[in-house]
């Protein structure tokens, strides 16, 4: 017996796809139209394909503080620094907590865990004061360092490290491997999939930051692309909407590409890490 296609399922899912594609499509199509047409309230859903050059043009567009290409680079290096930083310090601390018995081990574990309960909004003014005392305002370390602590990543690594079979550890010890050799040659390779997943999650997290950069950057040089775009649409002057839309598309692409490229690890990692 041949089954007829599940029309209801297709209808609902297409609606879902549209719910997310449509707004992005409007931005894409709008980017290729003239600012004047958009200002008249006449955005067309049909893009003008001969004006795709707007996406290159947008790179040198500036929000009065910094050009778009510069803000994209700042966002990229910030996201990279945060993702790598989180993975490195979390893997190291989880290794220490899982594989050693040292004084105050559980205290260290809980201190890291508690950071989950201290998001930036609950310590906003005093954090700014600390940053200012340390002269970290308007610096790249100031932008990234405070976002590198990660309870979630530490918990995930600890969970993986605890499950590593005893035989593997014994074998490494018999081979005369010290703890760091073991960490490097055994632990990291077995956690490859989780590291990939964490990289996606944290890269997206870093790229998408808004509140923190808003707080610690006052000059244009360290403006991230997210900050830059929000500034573009809140100015008083006439807004060149087509360039803003093109910039928005450019800003959306990197994290989306990272998620698409590593979807399988990302999904497994997300449902695992957030437990």
């Amino acid at each position: 017996m041949k089954k007829r296609p599940d029309f209801l399922a297709h209808a609902v899912l297409l609606l879902g796809v549209l719910l997310f594609m449509f707004p992005i499509w409007v931005a894409f199509a709008g980017a290729t139209q003239s600012a004047a047409a958009i200002n008249r309230g006449a955005i067309s859903l049909v893009p003008e394909f001969r004006k795709l050059g707007v996406f290159v043009q947008a790179l040198s567009f500036s929000n009065a503080n910094a050009p778009v290409w510069h803000m994209l680079l700042v966002s990229f290096f910030m996201a990279l620094a945060i993702a790598i930083g989180k993975i490195v310090i979390s893997a190291l601390s989880a290794f220490a907590i899982a594989f050693f018995r040292f004084p105050l081990r559980m205290v260290a574990f809980w201190l890291i865990f508690i950071t989950l309960m201290l998001p930036i909004v609950v310590r906003i003014v005093p954090t700014y004061a600390v940053m200012s005392d340390l002269h970290l305002i308007d610096t790249f370390p100031g932008l990234t360092l405070p976002l590198i602590a990660s309870a979630t990543a530490t918990l995930l690594f600890r969970q993986i490290f605890i499950a590593v079979p005893d035989e593997l550890v014994e074998a490494a010890k018999l081979d005369g491997a010290g703890p760091m050799r073991f960490f490097w040659d055994v632990l990291l390779p077995v956690s490859r999939a989780n590291i990939a997943a964490l990289f996606v999650i944290e890269f997206v997290y870093g790229w998408n930051q808004y509140l923190w950069p808003l707080l610690v950057t006052t000059k244009g040089g360290l403006n991230t692309i997210v900050i830059g775009i929000v500034q573009m649409i809140t100015g008083d002057q006439l807004i060149p909407w087509n360039l803003v839309m093109a910039t928005t598309i450019l800003a959306l692409l990197p994290p989306i590409l990272v998620v698409l490229a590593m979807q399988r690890w990302f999904v497994a990692g997300l449902t695992e890490a957030d437990k």
């Binding site: 409007v26 310090i89 190291l92 201190l111 309960m117 703890p179 997206v204 997210v226 839309m245």
Partner: protein, 292 residues
């Protein structure tokens, strides 16, 4: 659970946890401690002297009708966002879990929005709803509906709820899909017969199996709506017009960073801290249930 095979020594592990602990102390515990101290202090109008005022910042906050209104507004916002985002996530997940053609494409198409920056979600919706250029605004105008979130408070609130929920759908989709994939195939097929009977079976057979995920997501979504929606709201409305989208996290920023009311803002921080501690504790209890 703990490991049995271990390495010896304490100097090396201490050095390994040091970087994380250092960042944690400098940027988390020190400022949080400062918030506690500042919440009991008041600074004079010129910022010259600071004095201890005990619980008066808290009393002022808890007797302030504006703060009551912000709490109620935030609670309404959280419930609305959570229900919308979870219902959409479950709806799409249950259809994307059926054995239909192209289901992998559908899944990808519903997962990538996870990568959209919350602040940029608002920017994208500006393109649709901006009073002058917005595509949907202009469409609504043709039907005689005047949509202007920069002037109309309830429209602003509705739009902020919509965007915050929109942003969270893919997260819920991923978790519900993962949960559905662990439901036995035969059970699913029995429940996917279309029509009223299928719906009834979904409610009696599948829904109870999804309960742990639903509970877990409820807390995660409330935490998200309460604490992680600053970007969405601030980028779209800045808390306005008036105070119509002034949620607790926006208010703490406006009072502390923009209006420089340090004591009041610190007291708000402390109350928010208490809120998130309670929610995290709840989440931990639920998670323990989910893991078993």
């Amino acid at each position: 659970m703990e490991r049995k095979t271990l390495f010896r020594g304490w100097l090396l592990p201490a050095a390994l946890v040091a970087p994380q602990l250092l960042i944690t102390f400098v940027f988390f515990f020190w400022p949080a401690g400062q918030a506690l101290v500042e919440s009991t202090q008041a600074t004079d109008a010129f910022g010259l002297s600071t004095m201890f005022v005990g619980a008066s910042n808290f009393l002022a906050l808890l007797t302030d009708p504006d703060y009551h209104a912000a709490i109620l507004r935030t609670a309404f916002f959280c419930v609305a966002v959570t229900i919308l985002a979870m219902a959409a996530g479950l709806l799409f997940a249950s259809f994307a879990n059926r054995a239909i053609k192209g289901r992998f494409l559908y899944r990808t198409a519903l997962i990538w929005p996870y990568a959209i920056a919350p602040a940029l979600s608002s920017v994208i919706f500006v393109f649709l709803f901006q009073p002058q250029i917005g595509m949907i605004t202009n469409l609504l105008a043709r039907f005689g509906v005047n949509f202007n979130y920069t002037a109309n408070g309830s429209q602003a609130l509705a739009l902020v709820i919509l965007i915050a929920a929109w942003k969270q759908v893919s997260y819920n989709f991923i978790f519900y899909l993962a949960a559905l994939q662990s439901v036995p195939r035969s059970m699913l097929e029995a429940a996917t017969l279309d029509g009223a009977r299928g719906l009834h079976r979904f409610r009696t057979m599948i829904w109870p199996m999804l309960m742990p995920t639903t509970l877990f997501l409820s807390v995660t979504n409330i935490v998200y709506a309460a604490f992680d929606t600053f970007d969405v709201i601030f980028a779209l409305t800045g808390g306005g017009p008036g105070t119509s989208t002034d949620m607790l996290v926006v208010k703490v920023y406006r009072d502390g960073v923009i209006n420089l009311d340090l004591g009041g803002s610190a007291a708000q921080s402390v109350l928010l801290m208490a809120g998130i501690i309670a929610l995290t504790a709840l989440q931990m209890r639920l998670t323990r249930g989910r893991a078993t």
